[in-house]
Amino acid sequence: MGIILEVKNLTKKFGGLTAVNDFSFELKRGEFVGLIGPNGAGKTTVFNLISGFEKLNTGLIKFDGKDITGLKPYKIVNLGIARTFQLVRSFKYLNLLDNVTVSCLSSRGREVSKETGTDEYASSILASVGLVDKARLPPIILPHGDLRKLQIAKAIGTNPELLLLDEPFSGLTYEEQLGITDLIKKLHDDGVTIFITGHVLRELMTLVPRVIAMHQGKFIIDGSPLEVAKNKIVREAYLGKGEEFA
């Protein structure tokens, strides 16, 4: 099991605010890891830095042993890191099939899709997330849960080795959450390394075997869900200081 992602001393400042402060961690190939922290902890910024959407101030990001610090987002995607966004985004005037086709046309997606043809490949992805019967519909008329699935389908289209899922459960009903959970588990079984954020502990703790916690941009603890849940700083970050919660 080699190391797939290595993040060292990541720092990002927005004006006077340090959103991510000297943050380091490693992910092994095939792992399933959660990144937790209360709102504003810097989880999304960490994702933005890894995927190249924000420029970091200092630090080093290595993917598969290759330095990817400061690369443009599309280059990082084509190396094998795909991501989804916390707020669902879709190409609103394209139908679902075309939404996924775009990622199948990225240079990394093309390597896989050229054998079967992009259309067939894109519809097979839609089938795997359970949206194939809605392939010709525009995303604007879909319910929120389907849009979350579409996000993941778009990411799968680029044939990722590492998938960064930013709050994939937010705004979903319990049933919809189960659907997404199954989907993510299936992807993990197919060998995709998954790195997932969430600010509600309950959802993530049952899903992942390893959790990294952060608070106010700083690394707090890396361990099993139970260890993390017992950590004093994590509890204070979520529940507040002073009082004892049994």
């Binding site: 959407f53 084509n78 795909a82 966004f85 190409f91 086709t101 046309l105 050229k114």
Partner: protein, 337 residues
């Protein structure tokens, strides 16, 4: 790849047959037949040239703008740059070097492609209204350069290049050739919009960050969009210069960019086909106003600016596209679908 192309070519006759059967296909063929009949009805140079040939040139110009703004989402207010530069270059090659007009037209359009690249690169980081302002500024800079700058000796100064021979002295032949070029250009632009390349351009229009996250090199595709759009605007510019027997710095003024925008907006942005209908609507209404004495001195864009304001406010999809959809509903009703 080859297999796919062959499959497409083999299935083409059947596809064509079913396409003509659809409302859209039928209407297109109907319009084409009307356009082919028109020269039989009138051989008058004014009616044929100033109504229909001009409308077809504007249609090409507006469709090129629609490809860039409607499909790729890069709203340019400086589209006259490509139009004018190609008009200049092709006229210069015809008048000074005696080239055949087809070759000059291609040279002019290829120079327009180069300008597409030159303008795309500095404007890439600009979005929305800032891109519009940036492209408009380029248009004004070139307008001034051609009016008074050091280019005057080479390219005719403020007088421009005159005595450009038309495609043909016979207005019917000019009409037919322009029609042929227009049909080819529309087929190509619609094919581009429907292709995978077009899907990528639309994804950039809808959500550029999302397109980046899908692994698309958006910079590269935006530059391509500018260059391809420049090429077709260049064809229109060269045809326009030949139609009016000359070219001058006024081609660069923002007015022509606005023509493209007004025409595309009337027809419905991002429809490509709408540009053709919008152009005929625009030219014919303009000519009608010109022939009414009371309005003769008023710049036609005055009316169209007013129409445009109402179009944007009340009919976001253009005037003509919804009208055609109404017609389609009526058609379906008649056929009992």
């Amino acid at each position: 790849m080859f297999k796919e192309v062959r499959k497409k070519v083999e299935s083409f006759p059947g596809y064509l047959k079913s396409w003509v059967g659809t409302f859209k296909g039928g209407l297109t063929i109907f319009c084409l037949i009307i356009l082919l009949i028109i020269p039989l009805l009138t051989q008058n140079a004014y009616y044929l040239g100033e109504f229909f040939t001009l409308a077809m040139i504007y249609a090409i110009f507006a469709a090129s703008w629609d490809l860039l703004a409607g499909i790729a989402g890069q709203v340019s207010f400086g589209h006259a740059i490509f139009f004018a530069i190609s008009g200049y270059i092709s006229s210069a090659f015809i008048v000074y070097f005696g080239f055949h007009w087809i070759i000059a037209l291609f040279i002019g359009s290829i120079i327009a492609v180069v300008f597409g690249l030159l303008i795309a690169v500095p404007c890439l980081r600009l979005k929305g209204p800032y891109l519009a302002l940036g492209t408009m500024s380029f248009g004004l800079i070139l307008f001034l350069l051609f009016t008074m700058g050091g280019l005057s000796e080479i390219l005719g100064g403020s007088g421009g290049i005159s005595k450009v021979p038309p495609i043909s002295l016979n207005p019917v032949i000019e009409y037919i050739i322009t029609l042929f070029i227009m049909v080819i250009v529309f087929i190509i632009i619609i094919a581009i919009a429907k292709s995978n390349f077009g899907t990528i351009l639309k994804s950039i229009r809808d959500d550029e960050r999302g397109s980046d996250a899908s692994g698309i090199n958006t910079t590269k595709y935006k530059i391509f969009a500018f260059m391809i759009s420049g090429f077709f605007a260049g064809i229109a510019g060269a045809l326009f210069a030949m139609h009016y027997r000359g070219v001058n710095p006024a081609f660069f003024q923002p007015l022509y960019s606005f023509y493209a925008i007004v025409i595309a907006a009337l027809g419905g942005i991002a429809t490509i086909r709408g540009s053709a209908l919008g152009a005929f609507f625009f030219v014919i209404v303009t000519r009608i106003f010109e022939n009414i004495e009371f309005f003769a001195d008023v710049e036609p864009l005055f009316f169209f600016s007013i129409i445009l304001i109402f179009t944007i406010r009340f009919a976001e999809r253009g005037i003509i596209t919804p009208a055609i959809e109404q017609l389609k509903d009526l058609w379906d009703l008649v056929l009992g679908k």
